[in-house]
Point group: C2
Chain length 424, copies 2
């Protein structure tokens, strides 16, 4: 197929399990991103089972409306795997036995000390004018056929087989259809509301068609996905996206915690290491989630000393040494107790920083004065304490997540010597 | 449309964002489950953007191959929302302005103290012979049209609008096409390998077409989904599924921790409360994840006293009182240290049970003797200690998860007075 102006692409996910409530196609997200990198857009996605008539009809319709049909799944050895046969039927091509393919499949079994079961022989059949695609991670070879008018690509369903096969065999082939060079950058932001971000950057919204901006808002984190295309070169698109990134960073400043794909706990870990600081945490309503996130980063033992999950008042009093009077006077969910927890865990562990969370994660336990979602996050250091009062929305899980996000961000802003954000 | 033998259903998800790498249709999983409850299967799923020609062609092809087309998304007020118009064009129907619909939309804005923006007026248009579906959670009304030959259903995209609309307006309507009554049951298992489970139940595999069995295996948890259909009554299908459940439980016994949809931490919480037991935990490689899971259950403060995340050797020694010699002699990742942690946290908190985890979550820190994935889980009670040596596979996140799963399961088996499982 030659490059042309408007190439239509259809991705087909084939497998009856994908028509049940239990399974979902996720491969297409990966393929879409890689195709977008070439400036190619996906027009249709179809999911169909292994029922012959439905499968054949879907393939017919896909070939009638798309220039490139990328199908995945149904290349296995069982009699339910009919993708190869259904495409052969629609394309009126014969499936020819290929000795070299069989040898490769047999070899794969042999390396694992096994003999190839006879059913796998059917994976060695391919259209005469198609190219077999090597499968380094499984037995099913893929297939690529360019009829001049259409390109047909068949890939195995398992993601760990599909991705390397696409990257090594399909993507390089599709280069000839490349319309654009694509560069991406994702700014991750916390501590600013979505509407505040939009106010800050609205006049920077790219108007040019070769620039795309997508804002994804999650509780506690907002992502700005910047994509730049260039018809000339990758360098050009990188230049554009870096220029954009710079403009956005100028506006959003330290509210952007990463533009290199890092998680907040990674950034915090890097800063702690850089400043040779250690951290200990006292958690109430998050129950250990903060320590869990901190220790998701390999090597976190360099700076993370201890987390105490003092879920009950008794635990706060007996194990962290919070005064009973303080809790009686202000309640366990209060600015005063949050500060005392941060100071307490810091003193107990001699850490550089003490971080604490106390709040009401719900669904029960809220009152008009102290509603579900009220969470105090506190940070103590050698000569001071910061406490932020937060009111988070969402269910228990989301409130717990936002509490950890805010407290991690307090460490980050402190180490950057920036003021704390009061926004959620 | 009348009930007939082979009803083909197509679910269409409409929206250009669903053709990017960032968004995925999840509504169709919910709709599929609800349709399956009626004995109706989904034959095709299509995802298409708001580009007019592509949308119109997709609708045409859907109507040519399916008896019921269930489309979602693209019913909003913007000019990119074209689902209504595209269906009208394909069906050659006029969109008629409906005063009552407009009043409902205006009323919705009014209740929130707002005036309806003029663009929303287009949501009050509907085909003459179609039924508008009330939207209790948003402005976009849905649409249901039965042409005699086909049923067309248009639903809004946001899940919190789509689900109640489907349940209150569409599902009752589709009852007339009901082919079967469906009952489901999911057995959740931990502490048995998938192959062991298959050996135990292989002769119970249902051969009858009205029974379905799906096994979903995750690291640390295996689920057996049982579905029974009956053409007679819901009672009949429930009877069948309960009979199956009983047979499976007889084989799998206490390895099944729930057949009522509960999470393991819920079951453990229920048992702790039942036995009036309290629990304190000492975590090393899980970093707080165990406490996080325990406190995901509302009311867990009734039995969960404290978690200490003693990530470093120093923390184990200074804060939990583990002897320095013991760590030097056996290493922090050892049966002896795990037991001492469980005993230590129990003594410190006077809890009924002490639970501990120490291991190597990777990716670094493994040795030939103590590889990544080696995790000791220990439980201490008033007159004993149990320690299990585990070798988990997977990345850091998966090893952390399996460690919490195994330790929760130790509490469960202990309270059920069953022996600990040594399997992963």
């Amino acid at each position: 197929m030659k490059a042309k102006k408007d190439i239509k692409i259809e991705i087909m996910a084939i497998g009856s399990e994908l028509l049940t409530p239990h399974f979902q196609d996720t491969n297409s997200l990966y393929l879409t991103e890689r195709l977008n990198d070439l400036g190619l857009e996906v027009s249709y996605k179809t999911i169909v089972g292994d029922e012959w008539d439905n499968l054949v009809l879907s393939i017919k319709q896909a070939l009638s409306r798309a220039d490139i049909v990328l199908a995945m799944g149904g290349l296995g050895p069982t009699k339910d795997d009919r993708t190869r046969e259904a495409f052969a039927s629609v394309l009126e091509r014969k499936l020819i036995y290929n000795k070299k393919l069989l040898q490769k499949i047999e070899e794969r079994f042999r390396r694992r000390g096994l003999r190839m079961p006879p059913v796998n022989k059917k994976q060695a059949y391919i259209f005469e004018d198609a190219k077999a695609l090597d499968n380094k991670k499984g037995t099913a070879p893929g297939l690529l056929m360019d009829t001049g008018a259409k390109i047909i690509i068949l890939l195995p369903g398992p993601p760990h087989e599909l991705k390397p096969m696409f990257d090594t065999s399909v993507w390089p082939y599709l280069q000839k259809l490349r319309k654009k060079y694509t560069a991406r950058r994702t700014l991750k932001i916390t501590g600013l509301t979505e509407s505040k971000i939009e106010t800050l950057i609205s006049d920077l919204y790219p108007q040019e068609p070769h620039i795309q901006l997508t804002i994804l808002a999650y509780p506690g984190q907002i992502e700005i996905h910047l994509t730049a295309h260039s018809e000339e070169s990758l360098e050009k698109s990188k230049e554009t996206v870096h220029g954009l990134e710079k403009n956005f960073l100028n506006r959003l400043k330290e509210n952007v915690f990463s533009s290199a794909g890092e998680e907040l706990e990674e950034v915090v870990g890097r800063l702690l290491r850089l400043h040779k600081n250690t951290l200990a945490v006292a958690e109430s309503c998050t129950g250990g989630f903060l320590g869990h996130r901190l220790t998701n980063i390999p090597g976190s033992s360099d700076y993370f000393l201890l987390s105490m999950v003092v879920y009950s008042n008794e635990a706060k009093i007996y194990h962290l040494g919070i005064s009973e009077e303080l809790i009686e006077q202000h309640g366990a969910v209060s600015s005063q107790v949050a500060a005392a927890m941060a100071v307490g865990i810091r003193e107990k562990t001699h850490s550089s920083l003490g971080l604490a969370i106390t709040g009401i994660a719900g669904p029960d336990g809220g009152t008009p004065e102290k509603p579900v979602g009220l969470v105090y996050t506190a940070l103590a250091w050698d000569n001071g304490t910061d406490v932020v009062k937060n009111l988070f929305l969402g269910n228990r899980e989301i409130i717990k997540y936002q509490s950890t996000q805010k407290s991690l961000d307090m460490v980050r802003r402190h180490l950057l010597k920036k003021p704390q954000s009061k926004e959620n």
